[in-house]
Amino acid sequence: MKRTILILASILLLAPATLHADRNADLIKYRKAVYSSMKGHMAAISRILRGRLAEYTGHIIDHAEALKQTARILPELFPAGTGFGETAVKTAAKPEVWERPEEFHKAAKRLEDTSADLAETVRSGNVKALREKVGAVGKACQRCHQQFRRKD
């Protein structure tokens, strides 16, 4: 009897914590899906740029706009409790994400700005500058990864 009460009590006490961890696990999965979508847009842009697909150059605007919008939500994807070892789901986010939030915001802003610049470049028809502008978006991805994403 005493044991049953103890077990019941601990279930009641622990349940909210477990639920919370589950929710955080969901969030990490969502976050990774968001990053995968960015990877898709980057691949699409580079396929247009490098392929014999000149007539699709205008699509780069759509992909760049998508990256710009996504960059804006990146900082919301790292609430407390979603770090490495805090849920059952693996994450490659380094503790620095939570230790240096301003720098993380800056890195996301950089992606937003370079993507906007890329879209603008295509709109203005400056095809010559494309390769360099796409490169700048890529640098924004890489710089953030060097600082905030663990390599595994």
């Binding site: 990774k32 980057m42 691949a43 580079s46 490098r50 490169g135 890529g138 890489q142 060097q146």
Partner: protein, 295 residues
């Protein structure tokens, strides 16, 4: 740009004066190209450290080595080195004091460099800011901590051979082989090592679970399943230019640092490297634990 030229000009003048009778014309511009092909000698720059001042920990199965200061500081760097000193270090693995280097310094690759390129590289390094920072002793287990063990290692494993001309290959391929094998030393990370830490010849570029800093360096032979056999030449060239993988993700780790410099090479050098790497014999070798992938 002008300040760059000015700096080079000054450094060039200084070199000319210093080398006196043995005057050769310094060529830091050619040297910068070699420096970029060598991935900016990134192992010599520590996290948050001053460029090329050393102290970066390089984890190996034998312990931790710390890279050295290669800035032109005369006391703690290579500022006091003669041309002959650098040639001997890079191509024979021998320090100016006569001691032998551990193979963590990839002289096994650099031994294939032309003397001219080594000296141009020196000209370029000598234009960069000098940093005063003493080298940190290595932290490796017995008996690898003993300098003469480096000598013994070389006796068994180091047989420098120049890259022989292959008349059946194009000029581009030959340039690519030179850059990849002698200068960029792709194999130092991408080729697995035997128990003595020597590169396994039959597993050239087939990937290593124990790359520098304990990273996995993937199989980059053109094996369709476990290597980069599905990549086009342009995919590889674009990776070397930008760090982007064909799927839109970006490489990380030491490779991403090297790419910052590969990206500054003339495009024909990246094309040449890609031509060579994709011509290698495919080797089937799984190095990535599927569990470790992010996806």
């Amino acid at each position: 740009m002008t300040t760059h030229l000015f700096r080079w000009g000054l450094a060039g003048l200084a070199l000319l004066l210093a080398s006196g009778l043995h005057a050769r014309t310094p060529n830091p511009i050619a040297g910068e190209r070699i420096f970029n092909a060598a991935g900016g000698c990134g192992c010599h720059t520590a996290e948050n450290g001053k460029p090329l001042s050393g102290g970066r920990p390089l984890k190996t199965p034998f312990g931790i080595y710390f890279s050295t200061n290669i800035t032109p500081d005369p006391d703690t760097g290579i500022g006091g080195w003669s041309d002959a000193d650098l040639l001997r270090a890079m191509r024979e693995g021998i320090a100016p004091d006569g001691s032998h280097y551990f193979p963590v310094f990839p002289y096994t690759a650099f031994s294939k460099m032309t003397a001219e390129d080594v000296l141009h590289l020196k000209d370029y390094l000598f234009t960069l800011p000098a940093v005063q920072q003493s080298n940190r002793p290595h932290d490796v287990w017995f008996p690898f901590n003993l300098r003469f063990s480096a000598w013994g290692w070389k006796l068994v494993n180091f047989h420098p051979e120049p890259l022989l001309a292959d008349v059946t290959r194009s000029k581009q391929w030959t340039r690519g082989r030179y850059l990849a094998e002698a200068v960029a030393h792709c194999g130092e990370c991408h080729t697995p090592r035997n128990g003595m830490g020597a590169l396994k010849a039959d597993w050239h570029y087939a990937g290593s679970r124990e790359g520098p800093e304990g990273e996995v360096a993937p199989n980059i032979t053109p094996d369709a399943e476990t290597g980069i056999g599905q990549w086009s030449k342009d995919d590889l060239t674009y990776l070397l230019e930008t760090g982007m993988l064909p799927d839109g993700d970006f490489i990380g780790g030491l490779m991403s640092e090297a790419v910052e410099y590969y990206g500054q090479l003339p495009p024909e050098d990246r094309d040449a490297i890609a031509e060579y790497v994709l011509s290698l014999p495919p080797v089937q070798n799984h190095v990535r634990d599927p569990d470790d992938l992010n996806e």
